[in-house]
Symmetry: C2
Amino acid sequence: MKIEPDSIILSGEGSLQRQLYQALRQPLLSGLWPSGALLPSSRVLASELGLSRNTVNAALAQLVAEGYLQGQPGRGYCIITQLPDHFFQAHGFQAHAFQDSHRFSTSNNKQTVANTSIPIQPATPHKTGLLEPGVPDLAAFPYRIWQRLLQRHADRPKLGVGSDVLGYLPLRQALSLYLQQSRQVHCNEQQILITAGAQQGLYVAAMLVAARGDQVLMESPGYGRLRQALQLQDLQIEYLDASGAEGISAEALTNYHDCKALFLTPGHQYPMGGIMPLPQRLAILQWARQQGCWLVEDDYDSEFQFKHRPIASLQGLAQGEGVIFVGSFSKTMQPALRLGYLVAPVALIRRAAEIVQAIHGDVPLLTQAALADFISEGHFSRHLRKMRKLYQHKQQLAQQLAAQYLPDWRLSAMHAGLHLVLLCPETMLPDFDGPRLLQQLAAQGYAPAPLSKYQFNGEQQAGLVIGIANLSHAELERGLQLIAAFQHSS
Amino acid sequence: MKIEPDSIILSGEGSLQRQLYQALRQPLLSGLWPSGALLPSSRVLASELGLSRNTVNAALAQLVAEGYLQGQPGRGYCIITQLPDHFFQAHGFQAHAFQDSHRFSTSNNKQTVANTSIPIQPATPHKTGLLEPGVPDLAAFPYRIWQRLLQRHADRPKLGVGSDVLGYLPLRQALSLYLQQSRQVHCNEQQILITAGAQQGLYVAAMLVAARGDQVLMESPGYGRLRQALQLQDLQIEYLDASGAEGISAEALTNYHDCKALFLTPGHQYPMGGIMPLPQRLAILQWARQQGCWLVEDDYDSEFQFKHRPIASLQGLAQGEGVIFVGSFSKTMQPALRLGYLVAPVALIRRAAEIVQAIHGDVPLLTQAALADFISEGHFSRHLRKMRKLYQHKQQLAQQLAAQYLPDWRLSAMHAGLHLVLLCPETMLPDFDGPRLLQQLAAQGYAPAPLSKYQFNGEQQAGLVIGIANLSHAELERGLQLIAAFQHSS
């Protein structure tokens, strides 16, 4: 079979060489041109299609290189392969992790990429919802200083590649001092692993201390993404009530035996705000030691306690034994940094680093280097002091406004952190339509989280978790007014 | 019991308030002061210790807040808790993932953190080893342009928080076009997930397609970190010989049934450099379809092929079905970016995003935004064109120098990429002392990888994998001279 130059149609898009390449490749892939068929010579192709000989030869050379064509001296190019007829017939691929064991159905669609690709949408700029919890005051971040520190390191090519698997040493040194002084963490820089955020730290901690099917404990209300990380590892999760002012109770623990780990937020329970007093901490440490159960202490925003200095960490009380301590810079600096840390006994830290290498690879050095300077040159403590005052002010304001507009609602998580919990009055509960409220708020640009998002234990307390850090007085007031208006309309 | 002011000793380090806090807390934690004991009044403490009343009151308030002390009106402060005597007795914590089921031994050491902390070492600057494989030419990266693009987005607070779980939309759009045009990948932006590097992409891909205990296939010689990722998921790995010029052979696959996934590098086998021709690709696709076996295509450096344009991806040949395509910007841009991507069928991509959320959280938006501009404004293709020429030149140079200094050694991976494989001559093998060679090279600042690092299948071929991208002509020549000198001395 000889292929006629007429049957070769250029698409008009992309370079001429690419157009010719694709015009030759497609009929071949679709089976239109059989094996052994001869292409016109490059001279004929060039003159018939109005292309330069160079362009034609380059496209043909590419097809030869890819194994579609064979050059035949004096005879031109011959097609040496084609897709078997049955190639695009139905086959099943099973996606293991896909919960419903989804099986792909197969179409007989032989459209090329260009035909099936969805038209590109204009980019919709991302907008943070007002009242969204977990977001620090982004406008108060010292971008100029940060930018300067980034620039200081940005053109150092040696930062471009990996270093110690535990993370950039000067950052671990600065962090070690900070954690010892501010959180009474018992550590040195050899027990710190820099992670790409606290989420990674929690996932790795779970991997260190538990295996598929093991029982672990976490708080409810609690952190949904921790739950996801534990579920992904097929751990059997039991939930401890954490809604009280002191977090989980040591008494409740006596019901559990043979748990591999307890994940908790003693410094400031997330999201209910309980702060665990010392006797509770000691009782929990004692229980954990008796049981041989690991504690994973998530210290997610203990820097922002307003009534007193942060309470010493569980890890410090335990002198570092049997506790893995996880933290991040997402709230103290900004979420986009994606830098966190895991403090673990020396015997585990190398294994933790290996896991991070396997699931992620090196953590970028540039931000680590800038952050090391940010801490050791005093910017970090200055920023924390400033933010502590700012957030305390914003908390007071939020509480005053809540008292004014939502006098029947109870408040929780008032003494620390970047959010406030608004608990719906019992009298309102029967009629309370949470989804509709959230929908109405979203229409106005507000995105508080429903308390139900944090409840895993069948609790029914209706409420909202509102971020108070990243919006203005007027925006905060308007948000609470909207909630009040909804309450009165329903 | 009344506590005497004399027994309270300040350490002389840190703020006075902190010193007092620790001086009071330590005897309490160590059990020296029993429950119910009374502290001197704050007035007495202040005058005896020479501190201001404010300082004393702040330290006491902190200890009250933490639950160590109780304020008694008119009587001063009373100790309300102490650590139980047996608190620091031995207990066992089992670290599951620790391979030898290490059990912690416990010391009775009650030293405080400050005493046990290892003195901080001066920072040792990180230095990349010469000839280290996998590192692009870092000095050739357009830092000025990149810095400008970062700055363009750096002060946009809205970038500080998460967006679409699939990644920043403009980046996915730009990447979709690029992958379609340059790699014939069959995708649109809804099938792309931005990951924090290719390593994360490989880990997530394995999670998508296989479960604990499942059999999967990978190449040998192959990528050690892929192996780590698969081992971490307790997959049963079988190895396919990939040392030939065409990568793994489809014939070898007929020995395998019931494999969940085949991980491969068809564009440029890593590290041996085989480039899989079309008939092999089609045969592998056909085998995979018949078996219902997923293909995970690691396209780690296909951009740098010197003989012809990169061969169309397996994913494109399969019209996107049954193939997960993984790539990164570590070699085309720089490793520190930690940005990669995973292209998967729409039915899987949301699940992939959920996994990334659970193991990592959002991928930072700032670098995504800068990279989107870098691609869509043409810097990326310009940089690739420039680097392709540069690396081709460096490859030729390395091959000339190898022929000159190591004439008996065979070369592999000559037609693409940033590394070259030097295969030790058979005659030399009995006496070849690889570890000693590496040690000698390391002493001179060179860090090539031994081929054994990539061999998982009992192969015995001795050799070196050398990176040729990130060093000068003189450094490259000196490296090969050192290897030759070692050869002649042994």
